[in-house]
């Protein structure tokens, strides 16, 4: 242990109990007194604890006259120096660390289903923004499986449905919910309005058709299809009305042209049966056997394409009328045919 002489009271005290106040070595009582005086005078103050290089600062072991080496600016014995350099973590900290890692694992596993949903959501948004609503719908549907109630997810999904021509699904999704009037909300609202306008025009077309105003009905249906091109059924209805207009006007060349276009665009029962009917009309007018062959060939195609129940029912209604047209070369409207051969079914059908 080393000693120091206090510069105020001249007492010799253990070095470890001294303080260096503004550069002067003082014993503890003199240091306390001086510090109070300096603080009262509001003077500059620097206080350092006096150290004894023979006493370990950490364990306070006295090494007599042997000066201990410095470690981190402090005199420390070998044992304490080793402890400081090879610091041991406490047991609770190790357990806490293990628990934290475990929690991280649980968090990542727990979040797995959300990751999948989130990834689908972001991918869907990207697809929607890049103008691929149909593909986006599939990913939005996956995101919805997470049970999300997020307004953004629901509205974006509705937007994708609307832009993909699935307005009913969009409506089901947002029905009975209230949303903040954000930019997204306004986008969805605008899409719904577009659909509503198209629906109104389509309803108007249906009414005009009932009144046998085929030309006006076709015009209204074309407007509906133009307002909401995402819904192919509107365009199909417009085409069917065009067919009716041409049939009604007796423009069988036009009817064949239109039917061939529809068949080329889409190989369905509907387009095959329509083209068969158009050829049958032209055959009735020209008596050309080549046209007759084309008509029966298309009817064969229609029969092979009629898979659904609706198509089968339509076929069973249409086939006798087609046969009648081919056999008699008489072009009758549906009403004319059933007035000759009663048992008219309720379902509307082609001419």
């Amino acid at each position: 242990m080393q000693s120091r002489r206090c510069l105020d009271c001249a007492k010799t005290v253990p070095a470890a109990t001294t303080f260096v106040v503004n550069g002067r070595v003082l014993c503890t009582p003199c240091a306390d007194k001086t510090v109070i005086e300096i603080q009262k005078a509001k003077g500059a103050l620097e206080v350092l604890r006096g150290n004894d290089p023979t006493i370990c600062f950490k364990c306070a072991a006295d090494f007599g006259s042997t000066e201990l080496p410095l470690s981190a600016g402090m005199h420390a014995c070998e044992n304490c120096r080793n402890q400081m350099l090879n610091f041991e973590y406490s047991a609770w900290l190790k357990i806490a660390f293990a628990a934290l890692l475990l929690l991280l694992g649980v968090a990542l596993v727990h979040g797995r289903s959300y990751f999948a949903a989130g990834r689908s959501y972001y991918r869907a948004k990207k697809l929607l923004e890049s103008g691929h609503p149909l593909e986006a719908v599939l990913h939005f549907q996956k995101a919805l499986e997470s049970g999300t109630t997020s307004a953004d997810v629901l509205q974006n999904t509705a937007l994708a449905y609307l832009r993909a021509g699935m307005p009913e699904e969009a409506y089901k999704l947002v029905e009975g919910r209230t949303f903040e009037k954000t930019e997204l909300f306004r986008s969805v609202e605008a899409e719904f309005n577009r659909w509503v306008q198209a629906s109104e025009k389509a309803n108007n077309a249906a009414q005009l058709y009932k009144e046998k105003k085929y030309r006006e009905a076709a015009k209204s249906m074309h407007e509906a299809a133009a307002a909401y091109p995402e819904l192919p059924s509107l365009a199909d209805s417009a085409d069917r009305l065009d067919y009716t207009v041409l049939f009604d006007a007796g423009d069988y060349d036009g009817l064949v042209n239109l039917s061939e276009k529809l068949w080329a665009r889409n190989h369905t029962y509907e387009s095959a049966a329509g083209l068969a009917g158009a050829y049958a009309c032209r055959y009735a007018v020209t008596g050309d056997d080549e046209i007759k062959r084309k008509a029966t060939h298309m009817m064969d195609s229609a029969r092979s394409l009629a898979k659904s129940k609706d198509d089968q029912e339509d076929l069973s209604e249409w086939q006798p009328r087609f046969d009648h047209r081919i056999q008699t070369r008489r072009i009758l409207t549906r009403e004319q045919y059933y007035s000759l051969f009663p048992q008219e079914p309720e379902k509307e059908a082609k001419n």
Partner: protein, 178 residues
């Protein structure tokens, strides 16, 4: 802006304090800086501390100071990423996810190195930077950014940082993966 005493914040976010001090201790040990005293958490100011000596080189200084910043930020991003989607995007009522989000934010809030640590780094950085020490060069912009942010803790800069990395980190991650 509302005021909450520091000790209340420390209690509410205690995991972050412990991770911060444990990261200091870890890097002290790694870079052979003697550890004089450690307090992982206490009900007082500071809420935790590590008193240590100098490491052997500047790289050690860098990691002892910035270690908690790196570790706390990384853990914050990981925990918040795991809980981000149900909490922020999908709006799913899942208490476990909220717990993980709190844990992530608590850890992220205590990412900033203390002013004292930054001062020590600042004292050594310019000299080392002149010698083209890459760690010193890297530390300069970090010190310049983090030092003022430390003072902005009174206006919740630390919480802001936690939220920023706990929200923006996962958003960037999921947008990248999408």
């Amino acid at each position: 802006m509302f005021f909450l005493p520091g000790f209340v914040i420390s209690i509410l976010t205690f995991p972050g304090v412990i991770v911060h001090e444990a990261a200091h201790a870890f890097f002290c040990r790694m870079f052979k800086a003697p550890i004089l005293e450690v307090k992982y958490f206490q009900f007082g100011n500071p809420a935790g501390y590590v008193i240590h000596g100098d490491p052997e080189n500047f790289k050690g200084h860098f990691f002892i100071t910035m270690g908690p910043f790196i570790i706390n930020s990384a853990l914050c991003i990981l925990f918040c990423s795991a809980a981000f989607l149900p909490v922020w995007v999908l709006n799913i009522k899942d208490p476990l996810s909220w717990f993980f989000y709190w844990l992530g934010l608590s850890i992220g809030m205590h990412a900033f190195p203390s002013t004292q640590d930054l001062k020590v780094l600042w004292r050594n950085a310019p000299r080392q930077a002149k010698a083209h020490d890459p760690w010193a060069l890297l530390s300069l912009p970090l010190i310049v950014t983090l030092y003022p942010l430390n003072f902005l803790r009174v206006i919740w800069a630390d919480l802001g940082y936690g939220i920023a990395i706990g929200v923006l980190g996962p958003i960037a991650l999921f947008k990248f993966l999408a």
